[in-house]
């Protein structure tokens, strides 16, 4: 089981408390689709992904970004049992969507970059450590039902 210090819990809760889900969700997913274009294969039904400009203007992608970020809420509310919280989502991603689990890490990295840009100097080393620990637990939980 993952151990969280009080400081780590506080850091993660603080980030989510002031998070603009629409903005950060849209920015993270579009960044992932642009920086790692092979991830676009999972979004065949999402309309125009022709180039960076159309990806960034795509409303379906924006909506999905928001959805992903709200999905992280569940991990936030169940930090002591993220593994089981995401059991169903993990099955969905492996059995139905067939997403290569390496892509979870790519999206997590993009999310980290977007949060860093948003928070600026407030994204201290300690904040980054807690944030990436949280995301790595999420990524691990999502990949769990694959094997």
């Amino acid at each position: 089981m993952v151990e969280w210090t009080d400081s780590e819990r506080a850091i993660i809760n603080d980030i989510f408390a002031t998070l603009d889900y629409e903005e950060i969700g849209r920015k993270s997913l579009t960044r992932c689709l642009i920086v790692y274009p092979w991830t676009q294969r999972y979004f065949g039904a999402f309309g125009n992904l022709y180039n960076a400009a159309t990806i960034m203007a795509n409303p379906l992608i924006a909506a999905h970004g928001t959805k992903i970020l709200h999905g992280l809420d569940r991990a936030l509310k169940n930090m002591d049992d993220i593994k089981n919280t995401y059991a169903e989502l993990s099955l969905l991603h492996s059995d139905k969507l067939h997403v290569d689990p390496d892509n979870f890490r790519l999206l997590a990295d993009c999310l980290t970059v977007v949060i860093a840009a948003k928070m600026g100097a407030a994204f201290t080393v300690d904040t980054q450590v807690a944030w990436q620990k949280f995301l790595s637990v999420v990524v691990s939980a999502l990949g769990r039902q694959y094997h």
């Binding site: 928070m119 600026g120 450590v129």
Partner: protein, 143 residues
Amino acid sequence: MSLTPKDKATVKLFWGRMSGKAELIGADALSRMLAVYPQTKIYFSHWKSLSPGSSEVKKHGKTIMMGIGDAVTKMEDLERGLLTLSELHAFKLRVDPTNFKLLSLNILVVMAIMFPEDFTPMAHLAVDKFLCALALALSEKYR
């Protein structure tokens, strides 16, 4: 995944804005990597202090950024340009090449903090491609 002329221009542009703060950026990226990925500390076990403000971290952050700056000038042939550095990392330092990715991510994080508006997804793509190409060239002599 080779660098287009536009990628190279983007990297040079950002490097131009970063080179003046190379020591700070390098130290910041290095500190973040050591904290977020503690396994990387193994390469620095001979240092007195691995904490963010330490003189060793600052000095080595600068060394790394100078190396990257050098790579920027050798973008047309990274493999040849980084031959000596590759030998150093492969035979002397024996750095597991997977760590290059970890440092790269932290360089990107520091750039996002420094250039919140300008570090667009397209800029991120160009810099990530460059850092990947750099890592590949550094891995050249490993086997």
